[in-house]
Point group: C2
């Protein structure tokens, strides 16, 4: 067991494995060719030399990358990191001030040039790359910390600051960002906010709707909405910033943010438990939430299939002596190592005595902590090796969370698409497994097909969304809607909600220039 | 020192002193007569018998209280509890279902009948009572808990549930509401949400923007916005519920809410410190935040004047041996009494050794905890005995928070309105003192005049708001805008922000029937 001055080193060990840019290894088809239901909106202007010339007057030579005839040099901005979505924008703009963003949007709004805002381009649903020829507005050069107050812990920064760099800035001050996710080495805080990123420790540090104190946003007409408050309490009018958190760049472009940061914990502990049933996973959660109350920082679960595939792929030894139907990872963040270990030790003892945990291990040092987290963190990558994974990131009320996996398994088996015994080698689906953040009700449902095909798509969608709807779940817990799920929002939101959202979109972006074709069904 | 199974008993001891209905003891002037700049909007219809008859078909006899000719019997709904604001509504509607609220609003919207939503009517800024003859829609009969999940801690309830009753419902389950405030015995959860109530432990449990998972809201045209999610993570579209949190009933009427509740802590501790300067108060906060990290639940401060007046009024003995320029109250919520006391003891020892605290005491039992909280909680009431208090509830970035009190004191003294020595008995201002929630940057600035007069008003406003603006503070930290501060919002929000808010108001309430004359400057 270790006393850490900082958990940052730990995070670096375990979190940076997932984001490997893959678009250079193959030719990515254009989104418009793959999804033929998409049609370029003819009311958008096409880029001309005069537009580029005007942009240069705003951002200078250093702030523009453009080619009207050959978009190949813009590939890293046109394609997403998974190599699934690709647009054909002829122009990437990299403003270095809020004023420049304002002038760009004002011009684009007047000319009806469509714009896609882009942060670290680490999204999973195709939200940060163009569909057709939208102008890309990158926040790459908006990368300054504006202020930090060591007493309140409030940091104000540009939107293009990389999450990990903000952590590095905060570390000597004894603070850390309230969110943590695999993409931290590339993602921008502006993108985190625009997509309402959740991550591993939302359970403890809360959502960005709670930790964001202020935003600076440029509206589609160029208006700068200056709501960059550093106050925790401010009841003077509608909390407009909330509209932009999770709006995926469809209402405005976030250029600055004020975030309340927590102190770096002085002690970190991790335990792994083997559990007999999902019923018991819930009981463990209830007990742990009660007994570790203030120090609990993560409560993750994996089913046996997820666990096995991660072990196999990573060549890590099983930290427990046997295999169990479910695994639970418990992490604590606290201020006193002795206290935390005593609490955690007592909880584990009780869980074992009561039979709620069948087996368990408490990490003894940083390496062991890293190994246990690795198993959980490597699942997404490991699954890629089984075939073509179809990944669903859903929220389900806790009592029914794992029911979703069971129902999906049994319905796919009933129809002959999946054979849990593995004997039917003709079955299109090889594996169905579930893992995720129990503390947040967030299930990562992974379905691995032998190979990608329209038939598999047809089998899974909207079937999965229908199951999620049955339990009043969300078809997107944390990844967002982007292009991928825009057409499925009705499985999680009523027509009234969607209509009201559309009216808000129309109010703030009447020309519909921001991030079109995504997020919401078009109104016309 | 005590082990509490529940902090609820404690809360009852210390929190219920403030809300004493005072309107029965004197004749309250009508708001429209006191604030002559207010004019009834002639485009609103006046109530007629036919309207009352229609309302009866919706809510039945039990759901309506009305008299077109004599409004005196509606006094408890027309006047606020402070006896400052009074309208002359002829009709109070008490629907007992969301559907009834919908039918009422649909009718009022078509007829252009103005409506004021009313919860527990415990507000401080005149937001929950009519200005003229608006129909009052009370949430009194929307008072059922709809569901509670003991694993996730999510409670779904009607908007008219009283905060304390929700706590009583949750107590046997081991949970409590995430907010706590003086008015808990009367205020409705719907009103808490509509005003984004903060309270004593926002520092620990976060704001309602973070803890509210879903809302059911009836829009002005009767549309029911069904966003009553129980999910912690849901990234499917704009987070519309956030617009209604803190909108003070101007965009829609909240009829149901889904809230994430924390576990009741197993141990509660309270300490009181004497501190030499505001500079040191900040240092104490920084150290305490670091060393008590996960167990800190409140960090309150009082200046010597606030402290003295509370002691005098309450006849409580000074828990410390001497008087000091500043006092700090530290509370912890944790799961292990021994651990918490060890941490707190060590912190106090260090603070005393370093000279950051000049003196300190740790409550030894529930009575002592109650007494220390009482001093802090009795300040508002005690101040009333010095003269006519003018209360300002402001947020200021921490480094400058107490500067505001100093500047106000010195400027008032410079102009001869205030004599800190008390020798000039002609001075209009008798006392200027500050206390509040350091953890939230929330200052309660109290200015006591010899008596209320237009001259005092003129001296203080907009002067106080100008000082707050200098520090980029908020003129309303937690009390809201209501009628009182609607005309001062520009001191905390830019014209662009106000204009955008007005456009949102117009979008959702085009006929402006909900809670008129308040919150925002009128657009026409």
């Amino acid at each position: 067991m270790i006393k850490l001055n900082s958990i940052l080193k730990l995070n670096k060990l375990v979190n940076n494995t997932t984001l490997i840019k893959s678009y250079s290894s193959k030719v990515i088809p254009l989104t418009k060719d793959r999804y033929t239901y998409l049609q370029r909106n003819p009311s958008y202007k096409s880029l001309e030399d005069s537009d580029l010339a005007h942009f240069k007057t705003i951002v200078g030579e250093a702030g523009i990358q453009a080619n009207l005839n050959d978009v190949s040099e813009l590939e890293s901005h046109n394609a997403d990191w998974m190599g699934v979505y690709k647009g054909s924008s002829q122009c990437v703009l990299k403003p270095n001030s809020t004023q420049q963003v304002s002038e760009i949007l004002k011009y684009c709004n007047e000319k009806k040039l469509a714009v896609v805002p882009q942060g670290g381009n680490t999204g999973l649903v195709g939200g940060s790359v163009p569909v057709f020829d939208e102008v890309i507005l990158s926040t790459n050069r908006l990368n300054k910390v504006r202020s930090f107050d060591n007493v309140s812990g409030v940091i104000v920064s540009d939107a293009g600051c990389i999450l990990e760099q903000l952590n590095q800035y905060l570390e000597p001050e004894g603070y850390m960002m309230p969110l943590d996710l695999g993409a931290k080495g590339s993602c921008h805080i502006g993108g985190n906010l625009a997509t309402n990123a959740g991550g591993l420790r939302l359970l403890r540090y809360g959502s960005l709707h709670g930790t964001t104190l202020g935003l600076e946003v440029v509206l589609p007409d160029g208006t700068i909405l200056d709501n960059l408050s550093t106050l925790r309490k401010d009841n003077t009018g509608y909390d407009l910033k909330q509209l932009f958190i999770g709006s995926e760049g469809t209402l405005g472009i976030i250029t600055g943010a004020s975030v309340l940061t927590p102190k770096i914990p002085k002690s970190v502990n991790v335990a792994l438990l083997g559990v007999n049933s999902y019923e018991d996973v819930q009981k463990v959660f209830r007990n742990v939430r009660s007994d570790l109350l203030e120090i609990l920082s993560a409560f993750e679960f994996m089913d046996i299939d997820s666990f096995k595939v991660a072990l196999k792929h990573s060549n890590l030894p099983n930290p427990l002596s046997e295999t169990y139907p479910f695994y639970v990872l418990i992490e604590t963040h606290g201020s006193n190592m002795d206290h935390d270990q005593e609490k955690l030790g007592l909880v584990l003892e009780n869980l074992l005595t009561e039979g709620l945990a069948l087996d368990g291990t408490l990490a003894q040092d940083q390496t062991q902590i890293g190994k246990i987290w690795s198993i959980r963190e490597l699942i997404p990558e490991a699954i890629q090796h089984l075939g073509k994974p179809y990944k669903y990131d859903v929220s389900i009320p806790l009592p029914d969370l794992y029911n979703v996996v069971q129902i999906v398994k049994s319905k796919l088996a009933d129809k002959g698409h999946y054979d849990p015994t593995g004997k039917n080698t003709d079955a299109l689906i090889r594996e169905v497994c579930g893992y995720g953040h129990i503390g947040d009700g967030n299930l990562h449902l992974n379905i691995v097909a032998k190979e990608a095909s329209p038939k598999v798509n047809e089998i899974l969608e909207p079937f999965i969304f229908e199951v999620v709807q049955t339990f009043q779940g969300s078809i997107s817990a944390e990844h967002g809607l982007g292009l991928q799920k825009a057409k499925f929002i009705q499985y999680s939101k009523s027509p009234t909600m969607i209509k009201t959202m559309q009216s808000v979109k129309k109010l703030l972006d009447p020309n519909n220039i921001l991030n079109p074709y995504k997020y919401l069904p078009a109104t016309n």
